[in-house]
């Protein structure tokens, strides 16, 4: 059987899709998380309910959405509500199972920086800021992030905590009164990370052909390895076909790494 060719992005999207359970209510952004959700829906999770921060519930986009407020998310959706309602009644109330996060940096305890590099008042690089991610991280039952495995993206400690993972670790998250399990999975192009009991991100899986060394070298803290590191299931032809032919035929989000 000839080996399948796929990009880093495709590798991450497929592995992220597999983290979703049938019936999950997912708070999803555009781009790769949207592809992961749609892939899951067309394979093992037909009852996935996709929610967008623009206020859309149960979207079934007929074309690839190009912005978080793409009209294709609305036509044929189950419900469309105000932003106040989506954040209050859905997210804060605890009606969201899964949140997909983005961000420039993620640290040892799963905290995310999407705000600034180089000081808040006089930033060297001003990033977009929280958007909805501060609340998604705090209130969804499970959060995931997809990001290429690069040292600069995985610092020991984020410069600015835009969204809380396990904060300083230990019982910090619980003490702050957050709900849900926090950052329970990180999907990279090398493997997967998940928190231990203290909230520290451990390497829990490698994609076929990747090594622990590669993961450690590309992580900004002394990455610990879980007792048993799994190897992720190879991508299947079917998964790749759905991604490439149905979901993103022009390859807008499938090429490259992020």
């Amino acid at each position: 059987m000839p080996e399948l060719k796929y990009s880093s992005a495709e590798l991450m999207i497929v592995n992220a899709a597999r983290l979703l359970k049938d019936g999950d209510v997912v708070f999803v952004g555009v781009g790769q998380p949207n592809l992961a959700c749609n892939l899951a829906k067309r394979t093992h999770a037909p009852n996935l309910v996709m929610i967008y921060e623009a206020g859309v519930i149960g979207a079934e986009p007929e074309r690839l959405p190009l912005s978080i407020g793409d009209p294709t998310l609305v036509s044929g959706a189950l419900s469309v509500v105000s932003m106040y309602d989506i954040f209050a009644n859905y997210l804060q109330r605890g009606n969201v199972d899964v949140g997909f996060m983005g961000g420039a940096q993620i640290d040892r305890y799963g905290n995310i920086n999407a705000t600034v590099i180089g000081g808040y008042e006089h930033p060297k690089v001003r990033l977009p800021g929280s958007g909805g991610s501060q609340e998604i991280a705090a209130w969804a039952n499970r959060c995931y992030i997809m990001t290429p495995h690069q040292k600069r993206r995985f610092p020991e400690k984020v410069e600015f905590m835009t969204s809380a993972g396990f904060m300083g670790g230990g019982s910090d998250r619980e003490n702050a009164g957050l709900r849900g399990g926090g950052m329970v999975g990180v999907v990279t192009d090398i493997g997967m990370m998940a928190p231990d009991k203290t909230g520290e991100m451990l390497l829990t899986a490698l994609h076929p052909g990747k090594t622990v060394e590669e993961a450690k070298t590309n992580t900004g803290w002394d990455l610990k390895v879980a007792g048993q590191v799994k190897v992720t299931e190879p991508i299947t032809k079917k998964e790749l076909k759905i991604l490439q032919e149905e979901l993103d035929p022009t390859g807008i989000y499938l090429k490259g790494a992020a």
């Binding site: 912005s67 407020g69 469309v80 932003m83 804060q92 705000t115 808040y120 958007g131 809380a164 957050l178």
Partner: protein, 300 residues
């Protein structure tokens, strides 16, 4: 009572130098026509509030209208960085005040409902709270965890684009309804632009659809295609090509100046702008109809 006037007159009458302006619409129904008219009329020192500044505030900042921005996500949606606002902040040329989306919308909700503040649950992400002293925490009087509070946002002017309104400003909008209602009730003055001005009987045929009542509206303006390059659900598509093009245009002051000269200062109004976009663009943004099932209110 009729409030139907031109957009030029509405901006001239209700937007003053130094005002706090909220141009509503989350990705959808962004009131670009009003933004361009504000640029043409040369307003200065505005405080521009929006969850997502989007290209509309990038252009207004580029044109020198703004003293300050209030936002919760500063990006070019689906494309990348919002170069002009970002550069102005990095250079210290523009004041800013920042929230999460929920913080921003909660401020508007408090403003809309006449409250001094509203609470939100804690998120653990305390860095923004430390940076923005408007974000406070107070005890739960019922013995639970402290809550985070944000103060009401009551803009001087809200600008809201809608699919249809009657001449008295009773307005219906659909698709992504973001924070338009909250902005309208929070503001002192409300300027509506509408794709269509319809007879009051159309509005009255579906009262549950009316999100903004004429009684809070200062002016209603008939401005088809007012939200391009954003979109109006059911009327035309989002011009993603332009969002991508802006990423290039906004790379240099020169090309931005050229853009504003040609597409803002160089056109009289939205109708001239739309004509100038040309038939190829019109065709590309055209959308086929998909109607809602009607409902029965009953004749009582």
């Amino acid at each position: 009572m009729p409030k139907l006037i031109t957009l030029k007159k509405a901006i001239s009458e209700f937007v003053n130098d130094g005002d706090a302006v909220y141009a509503a619409g989350f990705t959808h129904l962004i009131p670009f026509a009003a933004g361009h008219e504000i640029i043409r009329q040369g307003r200065k020192n505005l405080t521009l509030a929006r969850a997502t500044p989007d290209l509309i505030y990038d252009q207004m900042v580029a044109a020198g209208c703004a003293r300050k921005v209030i936002f919760s996500y500063m990006g070019n949606p689906g494309v990348g960085s919002l170069r002009i606002v970002r550069a102005a902040i990095e250079k210290g040329e523009l004041e800013w005040e920042e929230y999460s989306h929920f913080g921003m919308i909660t401020r508007l909700q408090a403003g809309a409902s006449g409250l001094p503040f509203l609470p939100m649950n804690q998120t653990g992400a305390t860095d923004l709270e430390k940076s923005n002293l408007q974000i406070k925490r107070i005890p739960d009087p019922y013995g639970g965890k402290d809550v985070i509070v944000v103060p009401a946002l009551n803009p001087d002017v809200a600008i809201v684009h809608v699919q249809r309104a009657d001449k008295n400003g009773n307005a219906q909008l659909w698709g992504i309804i973001g924070e338009q209602k909250e902005a309208a009730f929070a503001a002192r003055e409300v300027i509506l632009t509408a794709e269509e001005i319809v007879d009051e009987s159309v509005i009255r045929s579906d009262p549950n659809r009316t999100m903004i009542p004429g009684i809070v509206v200062s002016a209603v303006c008939h401005v088809p295609f007012a939200s391009h390059p954003s979109y109006s659900q059911g009327y035309y598509d989002r011009d993603n090509e332009f969002y991508l093009a802006w990423d290039k245009i906004s790379e240099s002051r020169e090309s931005v100046r050229k853009y504003l000269d040609e597409w803002v200062y160089g056109v009289k109004d939205r109708s001239a702008y739309w004509k100038k976009l040309g038939e190829k663009t019109h065709k590309r943004l055209k959308v086929k109809a998909r109607y809602s099932e009607r409902i029965n209110y009953g004749q009582y």
